[in-house]
């Protein structure tokens, strides 16, 4: 199986690989990784969207298909086999996946088509989960013991991804006798049994989760024998633990700690690119009556003025460091292939911002530095979760830059659950949001389509609906020239300005110098961790 990371991390690996050193790996190569929130439920379909849970689940449970080397997007030819040894197409609406006959659950049972069917039933059980990404799938059925046939509702270029990557099969023989809603409180949730390169060893509450290599793993014996997920909530304590050598990898490195961390890692800081997108969402509807437009943001000219008044590159770099880029639409670095490898935005233009505000009727009134219209000041609140330091840096800088053009932004730094509730009820003006984007831009329909605007509880929080954008996205999902088609869709979004897109940060990750073959992925970063190697000459006591 050939998997490679994209671009930068590959270069880093190639430069450091030492063929002679990798002959005899030490017996217990160990990777210690610190996460900010404790992974308490690393079961696919039950991860409740916490990053650490998903990362851990990726080590325990295989996807049927994963991304091939240098994959751009998630089209069918960008996928490569994993739990499925192959797949073939019957017609534009039907795919058949063949499960690798060597695959075993960690208790020794064979993985078979029934497991896939069982998991599919769970994934579509409203008592368990509702994932709109499975919407294009019409039906799933077994063909013999080791194959499943998947029918789709309409043709698309991403059918392998939609079923093969998004679904991580669970062991039917262990879960079938449980009522679906009791799985999270069952013994299985305490001690999951998977089919991935690592098996669950133990969880020490509040401290760590330990995984051990499955030495009989059918895709090859893992060259890392132990993987420890340590919980360290405090970001600066996470940095400290990496510098003292207590942990081996460090991601989400605070900007100001980068030089120190780089020094400790002996230059081993690679950036596989990131799927993170940070933006300030406009509520275009009135907070008092959602059928009416928002008194300030209902006007597209004002939205443009507020965007142009911000020096977004400065905000992005002071907050996320030099590798941060700025987009004009919902595009993280993961999707930079759409725009020839870099994400770019319109520069700030304070003069134009002032003109636009004046045109919209917001003028300086009786010596006050804050603009006003019909006696009402140009004042709104910026809502953001208190849990994230970057949110605060962004909001503070934006507030000052707006103040310079006569806009009064009040900062509402609230606890995450209160922010979530307020956003869900439409009780916000501007919301600083951070999302991790899916590998494919076709996932934009989840948060930016007219259909999702109608659907209660969807992530289209501002109920944004633009028919032209919807049409362009639909075209793009089957277009020959993928970059061009998606460029058109993103350009339409940029023109409509549903949000101020603040940053597409990079994802610098520091790795202890003793590792070779340290491949990182732009999303699902640690998928290849089991293939990392420790140079025997540099092994630490914990590798022995």
């Amino acid at each position: 199986m050939t998997r490679r990371a994209c671009f930068t991390s590959l270069a880093a690996v190639a430069g450091l690989a030492r063929p002679a050193a990798a002959q005899r790996p030490p017996l217990h190569a160990t990777v210690v990784y610190a996460v900010g929130r404790e992974p308490t439920m690393p079961i696919p379909l039950f991860t409740s969207n916490a990053e650490a849970n998903e990362d851990l689940a990726d080590q325990l449970f295989l996807h049927l298909a994963v991304f091939a080397a240098n994959a751009k997007g998630a089209t069918d030819n960008a996928m490569s086999p994993a739990l499925a040894k192959s797949w073939h197409r019957i017609d534009p609406l039907t795919l058949v996946f063949d499960i690798d006959p060597r695959a075993r659950w960690h208790d020794g049972t064979r993985v078979n088509a029934h497991d896939v069917l069982f998991t599919w039933a769970l994934a579509t059980n409203p008592k368990v989960a509702t994932d709109t990404r499975f919407e294009p799938i019409a039906s799933v059925e077994a063909v013999g013991d080791m194959s499943v046939r998947v029918r789709f509702k309409r043709p698309s270029l991403e059918q392998v991804y939609t079923f093969g990557f998004l679904l991580q099969p669970l062991p039917a023989h262990l879960l079938e006798r449980l009522a679906p809603e009791t799985i999270t409180t069952s013994e299985f949730a305490r001690h999951p049994v998977g089919d991935g390169p690592f098996r669950f060893e133990r969880r020490v509450a509040g401290q760590s989760v330990e995984l051990r290599a499955d030495t009989t793993f059918f895709l090859g014996r893992p060259t890392i024998s132990r993987l420890l997920f340590r919980t360290i909530e405090d970001p600066s304590a996470r940095v400290a633990a990496f510098i003292t050598g207590e942990t081996d990898v460090l991601d989400k490195i605070p900007v100001q700690s980068l030089p120190q961390v780089r020094q400790r890692a002996g230059g081993r800081v690679s950036d596989p690119g990131s799927n993170v997108l940070v933006y300030m969402l406009f509520n275009t509807h009135s907070t008092a009556d959602s059928s009416k437009p928002h008194p300030i943001f209902g006007d597209p000219g004002v939205r443009e003025a507020l965007t142009l008044a911000l020096d977004r590159p400065t905000i992005a770099r002071t907050t996320f460091g030099p590798s941060a880029q700025v987009p004009d639409a919902a595009q993280s670095q993961l999707w930079s292939w759409i725009t020839a490898g870099t994400v770019t935005a319109q520069p700030a233009n304070v003069a134009r911002a002032r003109t636009l505000l004046a045109q919209a009727g917001w003028r300086a009134a009786n010596g006050d530095s804050i603009l006003a219209k019909n006696g009402a000041p140009l004042r709104f609140s910026v809502l953001y979760a208190s849990s994230s330091a970057p949110n605060n840096t962004i909001a503070l800088q934006a507030q000052q830059m707006w103040r310079a053009v006569g806009v009064d932004a009040q900062l509402d730094r609230l606890e995450p659950s209160v922010v979530g509730k307020r956003v869900g009820l439409g009780q916000f003006d501007l919301w600083v949001s951070r999302v991790g984007q899916d590998p494919t831009p076709s996932s934009l329909v989840q948060s930016w389509s007219c259909a999702s605007a109608q659907q209660p509880g969807s992530t289209n929080r501002a109920h944004w609906c633009d028919v032209t954008f919807d049409r362009l996205v639909t075209t793009a999902t089957t277009a020959k020239d993928q970059p061009k088609a998606w460029r058109a869709a993103l350009a339409e979004m940029a023109a409509q300005r549903p949000a101020i897109f603040v940053a597409a940060p990079g994802n610098p990750i520091a790795i202890h110098p003793r590792f070779d073959n340290a491949i990182l992925w732009p999303s699902h970063t640690w998928l290849s961790l089991w293939q990392w190697r420790v140079r025997p000459s540099a092994a630490l006591p914990r590798d022995q």
Partner: protein, 268 residues
């Protein structure tokens, strides 16, 4: 007053004048002249204490922070003293049902851990102006004062001069306000002065975990919170707010202990 007490009083007065005068001569505490190149500057003529991660002037933030932190502490102890002494006096003077009921209320207040109440309330309401934060700290701090005042009231009710007042036919309410209440004042003053230190530290702690004073307003606690992220590359950012915090809390503690010695030589 003892020498440490005089030092404490002088320090408190100095800090209070700093909180009043400082902001008048300082730059803006929120302006960010140049976040990319003007951050983490060392002290200079332009920035007496240097600049922080967003190029804001630290002296200005310290001065405005003094105003906010000290005001919150003052409001907190004032509210706690007022509510606490009212409830304490009433509970101590009435021996009947009212008195017992009030004592239950005081006990209930003491039984509810202050940190939980503050965490739950502040985490939920989020945006809270500094004066209201002070009031909230006071409203969670009054039971301790009430217990103290109730004890003093009970003690003074036995005092001969109170008996004399009753014998002279003074109405009970008058005795309570004119004779007993002034007697509780020394203990109240001591507790309040010592409470200032606690209130300052509590505000700093709450701002530290991000539920206290709201940005961009500076408070000493939120300055420490932000500076802590930069301990690796700019440790001096921690110095100014920490020194201010130490001076204020030590001053209040020294003054309080000294007052106790001179006002209540017989207790403790």
């Amino acid at each position: 007053m003892t020498a440490p007490g005089r030092i404490g009083l002088a320090l408190l007065l100095a800090l209070a004048s700093f909180a009043i005068v400082g902001p008048m001569i300082a730059a803006s505490p929120v302006a960010q002249p140049d976040p990319l190149n003007g951050a983490f500057l060392l002290p200079s003529a332009a920035h007496w204490l240097g600049t922080d991660q967003l190029s804001r002037d630290i002296f200005a933030r310290l001065a405005y922070g003094a105003r906010i932190s000290l005001a919150i502490a003052a409001i907190a102890v004032a509210v706690a003293a007022m509510v606490g002494s009212a409830v304490g006096l009433a509970a101590g003077s009435s021996t009947g049902l009212v008195g017992r009921a009030l004592q239950r209320v005081i006990n209930l207040g003491l039984a509810l851990p202050r940190i939980i109440v503050l965490l739950v309330v502040l985490a939920a309401v989020g945006r809270i102006p500094p004066p209201l934060l002070g009031v909230l700290l006071g409203l969670t701090g009054w039971p301790a004062v009430a217990r103290l005042v109730r004890g003093e009231t009970l003690r003074l009710a036995q005092a001969p001069y109170v008996d004399a007042a009753h014998a002279l036919g003074a109405p009970p309410a008058r005795v309570l306000l004119r004779d007993i209440f002034p007697g509780t004042l020394p203990a109240l003053l001591v507790a309040t002065t010592l409470g200032v230190a606690d209130a300052i530290l509590l505000e700093a702690g709450l701002s530290f975990i991000g539920v206290g004073v709201r940005p961009p307003d500076p408070s000493w606690g939120s300055m420490i919170l932000e500076a802590r992220d930069h301990l690796a590359n700019a440790p001096w950012l921690l110095l100014a707010p920490c020194v201010a915090l130490v001076l204020a809390t030590s001053a209040a503690t020294l003054l309080g202990e000294s007052l106790r010695r001179s006002l209540q030589p017989d207790t403790r």
